[in-house]
Amino acid sequence: MSFNSVHAVRSVSYSVAAGEVVAVVGESGSGKTVTAMSLLGLLPTTAKVSGRALLDGRDLYDMPPADLRKVRGGAVGMVFQEPMSALNPVFSVGDQLVEAIKAHQDLSTADARERAIELLDLVGLPEPARRFRSYPHELSGGQLQRIVIAMAVANEPKLLIADEPTTALDVTVQAEILELLRDLRSRLRTAILLITHDMGVVADLADRVVVMYDGQVVEQGTVTEIFTAPREKYTQELLGSVITLGARATEGVERALASELVVRENHLAVSEHPATSSVPDVPAVEPVLTVEDLTVVYGGRLRAISVRAADRVSLHVEPGEVLGLVGESGSGKSTVAGAVTGLVKATSGCVKVAGADIARVRGRAAKALRRKIGVVFQDPLSSLNPRTPVGDSVAEPIRLHKALNGSSVDKRVAELLESVQLSASLRNRYPHELSGGQRQRVCIARALALNPDLLIADEPTSALDVSVQAKVLDLFRSLQEEYGFACLFISHDLAVIEQLAGRVAVMHRGHVVEQGPTNGVLAEPLHPYTQRLLAAAPVADPEEQARRREVWRQLKV
């Protein structure tokens, strides 16, 4: 298979048996999606495919377009990564499901409708008859992915191709979708080809694993073989770079189920679930950052519905301390970050950096305050100006605050680039000429340019590949030790927080539901939401994951 004479994939072979889950893993650009797309003839016309792909003995690559159309959505179902874009926003989900059924089965509209409602029930949507008339924007990401799965299994396919089916979803939703896929596999005896980069998902669901790198299959074997005794160096590296929660998290949730939790000092949680208030802040000594009763309300003008994105949130960060702020999408963690950086206006409450209220300071004091804060955003590509060479981006804060001038700026930029392990010769490159990991290093260098007292890192690694993510986190930790800045580290991933943070605050729907030392929160999770979050995050170890799944099921009840 090749695109414009670039060999995207070379001599790849694997097989999937009925009722089996085969996971194809690899980093972005490894060719895992290309291979799966080729099965359904969904590659761009510039692609040339050679080889054979047999489905029940029929070669999919040789098949005339008319027959291939019957296979698509018929014998082979497809689940995409982004459920919102996989569904048409102007038709109700029921109509789209009926269309998928009628494309392959000769049913009357009424029968197809009945079958669609059956399918919605099958994928575990509550009130299927009512959901039938819903439009995609009225449903949550998890519900949409269930509908996409319902469409994929509508015609009882022999093979289900799931391309990163849970990547766009939150961990707790991911656990539910994985449970659904497992259930469908055993009920319908469908073979599942799972494409993913998340070793935790693989450990949770797969029977066999195919590891791809640079367009080639590096290694394949059963899930236990791959995880316990990987033969190839690349597989070992891939597994080595996976950041997952330690076993104490599972034990913590188990203890919580057995009600054997011991509460330690400085560890607080709200009693009710879902929470209606935030926990108070634990006592501070000499905080760099204090957030007091921060409330942010969006909208609410005229008759619009107002959203409380953050509700009386109180936090603080001591000098040299890393505070992890964990939560899923919509939990309000990014709103807190926005309020701390001054990009979001607080409705009430205040944010103080080194004793100065960030919303009140003006003029020179405001500028001096800015020098003390560095920010690293989630998407490194969008946080660098595409028309500015990266060296100039790094120099921007220095020039803006006139911290240095003349050739000492260049020297400082070179120094900063080297401190984030980039060659100083990269300074004349444009952002698009760098890899994702390099870009994020540039962003970190820019954030550290003025030796800030406080660094705000808003999901700095979640847009990166697994192996790159591990390297960037290592770099981050060593920089933090070297420079000793205080850090508010925001992430949806508890495993990342476990690696870096000394203390953790867990957010859920605008409230801080639990706050305490990392060890305490992970080993003795007090709040039900924290427990669910801990149990839902998959770990890259099939046995450990089986144990966690059991715990997760018990929590659900």
């Binding site: 305050l369 920010v375 969008s382 946080s383 100006n385 028309r387 980039l422 004349n428």
Partner: protein, 312 residues
Amino acid sequence: MSDPLPLGGEVTPGAARSLPAALWRAIRRDAWTLTCAIIVVAIVLLAVGADLWVAIEGQDLNENIEALGPDGLPAGPLGGVSADHWFGVQPLRGIDLFALVAYGARVSLLVGLGATVLATVLGVLIGASAGYIGGWWDRVVSWASDVMLGFPSLVFMIALGAVAPIEFPRQLLLIVVLGIFGWPRVARIVRAQVLSLSKRNFVSASRVMGGGTWHVFTRQLLPNLWAPIIIVSSLTIPSMIGNEAALSFLGAGVLPPTPSWGRTISDAIDYFETDPMYLIFPGLMLFLITLAFNVVGDSIRDELDPKSKGRG
């Protein structure tokens, strides 16, 4: 322990850093751009040195019945093209057509460029401020540009041409009127671009670092706005030249005896069957300048974009 770079070999040249550098590279890279740049330069030279060229030709803007045949049409083939009259002569009055086209180029370019500069400056200032500041100013600007775009501008300009005092310099009037009707197009594009750029994190990053409105605008937004500004103004120049020609064609533009391509084309329509060359020369010039500005503008945009690999 830095990541290996995806690029092999020597460092590839980045994007052009300035407008002249971009123009120079566009010309060197592509023969078609070079041709069009030469056409632009040639027509500009024709306009600037009109007196000189016409003197070299040995003609002027006066009527010259001797160049006409007995039927009032130009003597000789191809509308009277000869060594004396490079583009032939005007039927009935015998004015040298090269002189008409050369002096006409002066009017067309002056009005076209002047109106474009005015429209672009107004459009960038208004559009960028609306997109960046937002709020009531944005609503006022959006509303005003909608009104301007929906306004029957041609009718207004013709009416204004009819009532404007005869002493008022016509070319200045045209520049101002065309410029005022031209800014909404630029402003809309700039506003949309600023809105989408403002959501990008590098703008937030700059603000968090303590960058003020002016700093963010000049350092972060403007470099990303150059490409759309250049492409929209390079497309505005030919349309302004066309507008001027259209107004003059309709008799509401420059007044006789000032020559203008639009007025010449308007006259030539009457003789299309008997003397087609009369229409072809000014028409061809209008076509060439429009095409050439478009091609050059397009190439400059490609060169200013660090992501583009150039055409072909």
